[in-house]
């Protein structure tokens, strides 16, 4: 290298140590066993998956009871990721979607393993688990289409 220097690397790096808190820790421990659950707000009766400490709408602590939820659900919204970025582990293009599990009232984001052109609002999907379970939502490898008819818009319009 002998030409003039015109650029240099100047990375900025923040390393955080994040405590999950007892509520999310209990949920992640269940995920490590291949199990999902939700918790219900005693006031508005909405079921949150993953559970939170308190209902974001009512502010009340969620009931401690662990409610089973299904591993099937509905795509309420999605995006097709076409832009590469450093550290990316997925092959482009891939689909990142909001998924409303059956029995839950709030969708959470995860991958949909399907052709991007085949993904749509209302698509019915099922969780497929990774071979290596751990206390992370990466234990769910991705959601795959079930082949059922699409959920009607009215079935999830309150959960967008």
């Amino acid at each position: 290298m002998s030409g003039p220097v015109t650029r240099f690397k100047s990375p900025v790096r923040f390393v955080f140590d994040v405590p999950a808190g007892p509520t999310v820790s209990r949920f992640l421990a269940a995920v490590a066993e291949g199990r999902l659950f939700g918790q219900r707000c005693p006031t508005c009766a909405k079921v949150y998956v993953p559970p939170k400490v308190a209902c974001p709408r009512c502010g009340d602590p969620l009931s401690p009871e662990q409610l089973p939820v299904k591993e099937t659900g509905t795509v309420t919204s999605f995006c097709v990721v076409n832009v590469p970025y450093e550290g990316q582990t997925m092959k482009l293009p891939y689909v990142y979607a909001s998924i409303l599990l059956d029995g839950a009232d709030i969708p959470f984001p995860h991958l949909v393993d399907a052709e991007p052109a085949d993904v749509r609002m209302g698509l019915r999907v099922r969780a497929t688990w990774s071979d290596a379970l751990g206390p992370t939502l990466e234990s769910i490898r991705a959601f795959v289409p079930t082949g059922e008819p699409d959920a009607p818009f009215d079935a999830y319009k309150e959960h967008l």
Partner: protein, 147 residues
């Protein structure tokens, strides 16, 4: 199961910056094992060089060689270096006014212990064997009597 889990979360931006013409020449010289400063219209020599004279705002386009040794004008001791700092062992951050320069530059002084640091002491640059065009091509300054 009531244990609270913890996990590392790393947020990193891999910026690459363009140097501009003046700092580019400074880093090019560093890569070649030399130190240069910018000479202003009033004859002051600024190290590292800036694109504009901080006193008048005029462009600085003349680069001149400066010495690879100089005087510590102020310093502070780093007892526990953080990741990414120039040295992994305790060192001093110091402002060093190089011979031939009118301003001081910030860099590390590898003095071993704070008792060897003194304002006014002379230090000499130690360059890395492998250089790539960054400020850390100058690995650190060393107290002159020890270099």
């Amino acid at each position: 199961m009531s244990d609270v889990m913890r996990a590392p979360y790393v947020l990193e931006y891999g910026y690459r910056r363009s140097t501009g013409p003046v700092i580019g020449q400074f880093l090019t010289a560093l890569r070649d094992g030399r130190l240069v400063g910018g000479k202003t219209a009033r004859g002051r020599v600024i190290v590292p060089p800036t694109e504009y004279d901080p006193e008048t705002g005029d462009a600085v386009d003349e680069l001149v060689p400066v010495g690879d040794a100089g005087v510590v004008t102020t310093w502070t001791w780093v007892a526990e270096p953080a990741p990414g700092q120039p040295l992994a062992r305790p060192f001093a951050w110091a402002l060093v006014k190089l011979d031939g320069a009118d301003t001081a530059m910030l860099h590390a002084v590898d003095a071993g212990e704070p008792s060897r640091m003194k304002t006014g002491m002379r230090v000499r640059a130690r360059f890395r064997a492998e250089r790539s065009g960054t400020i850390l091509d100058l690995e650190a300054f060393l107290p002159e009597q020890a270099s």
